[in-house]
Amino acid sequence: MPQLEMGDYAPQIFWLVVTFVALMVIMWSVGLPRIRRVIEARESKISDDLAEAESAKGRAEAALKAYEEALAEARSKAHGVLAEIQAKLSAEADALRAELDADLAARAAEAEERIQETRAQALASLRDVAGDVARAATERLVGTAPSEAAARAAVEASMGEGR
């Protein structure tokens, strides 16, 4: 069994020590720092990108919030303007209506007054006409015309009864 050849032990151990120490020195000084740098660069790149994405998300959320605030503000402002206009319009309409009412009432009162006046005039002329008719009729029937005052009194009296 070649593994038990004592004479071969020395060169194997010698070269094992030489090669393994060389390997460790190379790994320690060149190989491992190089790999570590690459891995760390990748990790920092990934975490940087994640942080970037996080901040972008934050900015987007802030923008959304600002937009919503502006929207709500505009909406409430529009509501205010609308209510104001409505109030103004209804006030104007009320004023117009009141004016119109007053005008109509005044004209109605005036008309009423005129009607009374006309009626009174008509009544007065009715008495005159009735008096004249009564005198003319009496003159035809009796031949003599009663005096104007008597005719009037008679008309007054009959009108008073007719009532």
Partner: protein, 256 residues
């Protein structure tokens, strides 16, 4: 691959038996003041392993792109697997101090195991001396770590708290033996897995030629076994590394 067989009594010829594939061949004889430091097939594979790992972690990483390609993904996955293993088992405080060692250990064993599966190459982890050297480095290092951190309280490791004193004569030897067995189990597990797999592959490879047309059957078996060996190669490197992490945790926390 021209082999200059200078080593006395070593078989540098074509492979004959299933164990001959594990033979150490000396390419260049080197003598450092009586210490035999010859460049062998084992040393060649170790150098190839180190070169490949170095290329993977430098050229393979390319320009270190943000979205990794295939090579870069493999390197980063190994890196993150070991980092996670250390973080999970040893835990935050000072765990990353051991990272270069544990990462190098895992990559060295992984590449050593996998490269050994290439036909006509050599698996240096199939030699007990290599795995034992690794296991002893881990064992001694972990013991020194525990003594430095806990001073004399390290001895309480062999007598868990809450155990009655009369149990101590029984329990302490068991704990000491199980502690001492760590490097042996660690090294034998890797070495035996590698050696057994390669031996079986060789045996069935011989059947293919012996059985001529019926050799299709052992050949199909070899294909399946090769997949299994690939899994074992990765798994054993992983097991060795995860046990190393567990021993480091034991040294730091001092109770199991």
């Amino acid at each position: 691959m021209a082999t200059t067989d200078n080593g006395a009594g070593h078989n540098g010829d074509a492979h004959h038996g299933p164990l001959d594939q594990f033979a150490i061949n000396r390419y260049v004889e080197i003598d450092l003041g009586g210490f035999d430091a010859s460049f062998t097939n084992s040393a060649l594979m170790m150098c190839v392993t180190v070169i490949i790992i170095t290329l993977l972690t430098t050229v393979g990483m390319g320009r270190g792109r943000l979205v990794p390609g295939r090579m870069q993904s493999i390197v980063e996955m190994s890196y993150e697997m070991i980092a996670r293993m250390l973080g999970d088992i040893v835990g935050g405080r000072g765990a990353q101090k051991f990272f270069p060692f544990v990462f190098s250990l895992f990559m060295f064993l992984l590449l050593g195991n996998v490269l050994g599966l290439i036909p006509y190459s050599f698996t240096f982890t199939s030699h007990i001396i290599v795995t034992l050297a690794f296991a002893l480095v881990v064992f001694v290092g972990v013991t020194i770590l525990a003594v430095v951190i806990h001073k004399h309280r390290f001895l309480t490791f062999f007598l868990p708290p809450g155990v009655p004193m009369w149990m101590a004569p029984l329990l302490v030897p068991i704990e000491v033996v199980s502690y001492m067995a760590r490097p042996i189990s660690l090294s034998v597990r890797l070495f035996a897995n590698m050696m057994a797999g390669h031996s079986i592959l060789h045996v069935f490879g011989a059947f293919v030629f012996v059985l001529s047309f019926a050799g299709v059957l052992p050949f199909a078996f070899i294909v399946a076994l090769y997949g299994l060996e690939l899994l074992v190669a990765v798994l054993q490197a992983y097991v060795f590394t995860i046990l190393t992490c567990l021993y480091i945790r034991d040294a730091i926390e001092l109770h199991h």
